[in-house]
Amino acid sequence: MIMPVLNKADPGDTVVVHGGEYSESLVIDKSITLVGKNRPWIRGGYTGHVILVSAPGTTIEGFEISEAGTRLSKDFACIRVEADSVKIRNNVISEPLHGIYVKAGSHITIVDNVVKGRLDLIRSDRGNGIHLWNSRHNLIRGNEIFNVRDGIYFSFADSTTILRNHIHHVRYGLHYMYSNANTFTENLFERNVAGAALMFSKHIVFDRNVFARCRGFRAYGILYKSMDETHAMNNLIIDNSRGLFMDNSNFNTFENNDVVDNDLALQILGNGEGNAITNNNFINNLSNLLMGGKGTGTIWASEANGNYWSDYRGYDLDGNGLGDVPHKIQDVFQVIETQVPEVRFYRFSPAAEILEVAERTLPILELGTENDPIPLFRPQTNDDVPWARAAEIASVSSPAAGLIFFVIALLPFSLLIFSNWRRGRVHVR
């Protein structure tokens, strides 16, 4: 048992726990350093919090911590923090409700932990990987979080730095509510419902993140709802059902990002203003923009240049790297689609192609107000975009299957030879 040892320890002591199984819940109410060697396993037995920290300056390191209580209304967690300057490092958290729940503590450091959520619960009954409430100036770095409800949830949590985390198979990778002046950098979000859902917050800066493979009817790479003055740059948004969604958001800047291979690159409901989307590469998206109203009020170009659009059909006669004619961001099909979504069934039909060509040569429909006045003629190379990180999660190749197709390919040819051989007999009869 660890608890009796903790009771005897003085503030400032270091308690070292050696590998083994410990079925108990811990309450840490004085500032000690709790170190696990060979990953001791603390099992809470599904009753309440597994470790409750109420002393500032506590460190917890090297444990596996499991079996928090399952009542979501009580917000049970594997590690519950109610003090400042707590360090949680290199732990594995399994069978949690919430993984780490910080209630009104600041300057918390959460580094190199793994949080594995409970697959036996439906997603709405699961807790969050890391939950911050009324908490400031935290550092969350190098954690892997999966199978929980939201990866990292912020509620009234300002000025927190999120660095190099890997969050996958959750609802929202990051979920900000009323949390201002946060930054997140170099994180990898994949296969979530939304990579990052930013809501009702201001002054969020994010840089060099990957948002990948958010697929589903309500899936988004990045979701803004009532967000003001965020600044997004050098992110890679790849292979999502929708890349960036904006609702009721104002004065946000989105620049130098690569938006690639999404079914829909941007969905902007026309209820915001002053958003600037400039200097990005939009490559190989099936559609670029779906909007809610008549226009989005978006600024599509800085003074120097606009964005690169891989479906731009203009030309660059003066060779200055900028297209000589503005790029209509919505094609005729997207205009119709805004009114009648079902028309998408005909998206790739020859009729749709004909309509597009006809529209380009003889404009008959008003294609809306969304124009990029000075589109880039070539994609810009931006080494800050984390393509190498994305390559880690790309599909594996399977050379063996080539053999199967080789056999299938032989089939028609062998049939030809067979029929050749039969030919004489058919004719004789």
Binding site: D261, V343, A352, A391, F405, I408, S419, R422
Partner: protein
């Protein structure tokens, strides 16, 4: 192998195989599929994300173009161009149904082999880059393409019965092709300008069933990208039919209806026809 049905089918297949048009058409199809896959998957620098879905979309479009045209022309030709041979066949002591079905099976065999050859060669190339899940959806697309070939060979033999002069039959075949490729889709898109959104929802969704090429395209895209590939439209479809499996079932049922009905009509016409 002595059944007259099979003999006629093999004979038809042999004639098709000897036909230089058929071989060049098959060669062109295989070349185009290879070309599209090569530029879609290999030279674009496969990133492991959506390249496969995008390449498949192009392949699906190509198939939707080439296979119906090939089936219609070949089917009409085989009945119309060599009239004396047909008369000779009908004069044999076998039923007209056997003659028609024999020729139909021979036509099918030719088309199925062309389609498989056209898809399997890029398949070798593609499977060196995609994962196992992608290969499964690729094979599904091949199966749907085969069904499309079946549908249009049925249409071809029906056209050959309706219009039995060569020029007329060819004209009808090409018109039918253009109708299903372009006119039908344009009519659907045009409808969006005139009908109210509430009506359009069902017109556009149910309207898919009226065109086998549309059924084929939507089924194939479902296999490659899933229902969310269609965005909100996909959600409507799921709400309408319940699940993706039901959508596929419904599509397959439509394709089967489309392949059986023309053959039944052709059979009735052919058995009463005065040659």
């Amino acid at each position: 192998m002595n059944h007259p049905l099979l003999l006629i089918a093999m004979q038809e297949f042999t004639l098709n195989r000897r036909n230089k048009w058929v071989t060049s058409f098959a060669g062109l199809f295989a070349f185009l599929t290879l070309f599209i896959s090569y530029f879609g998957m290999v030279t674009s620098g496969y990133s492991g994300f959506q390249d496969f879905a995008r390449t498949s979309t192009s392949l699906i479009n190509l198939t939707g173009f080439v296979i119906p045209l090939f089936a219609l022309l070949l089917g009409v030709f085989s009945f119309i161009s060599n009239r004396e041979y047909l008369e000779l066949l009908v004069a044999q002591p076998i039923s007209r149904m056997q003659v028609l079905m024999g020729k139909y099976l021979g036509l099918l065999l030719t088309l199925l082999i062309t389609t498989i050859a056209g898809f399997s060669i890029p398949g070798i190339l593609i499977s060196f880059t995609i994962g196992p899940a992608g290969i499964l959806s690729y094979v599904t697309v091949i199966l749907f393409s085969l069904l499309l070939a079946v549908v249009f060979s049925g249409c071809a033999i029906l056209i050959a019965q309706i219009a039995n002069r060569q020029q007329i039959a060819l004209g009808v075949a090409i018109s039918v092709w253009i109708f299903f490729e372009v006119v039908y889709g344009l009519a659907m898109l045009g409808a969006t300008l005139y009908l109210s959104p509430a009506v359009l929802k069902s017109v556009l969704t149910l309207g898919l069933l009226g065109n086998p090429i549309d059924v084929f395209r939507v089924l194939s895209l479902l296999a490659v990208g899933g229902a969310e590939f269609f965005g909100p439209a996909g959600a409507t479809l799921m709400k309408l039919v319940g699940s993706e499996a039901w959508a596929v079932f419904l599509g397959l049922a439509a394709l089967l209806t489309w392949s059986v009905l023309p053959v039944v009509f052709a059979m009735r016409l052919f058995s009463r026809q005065n040659l």
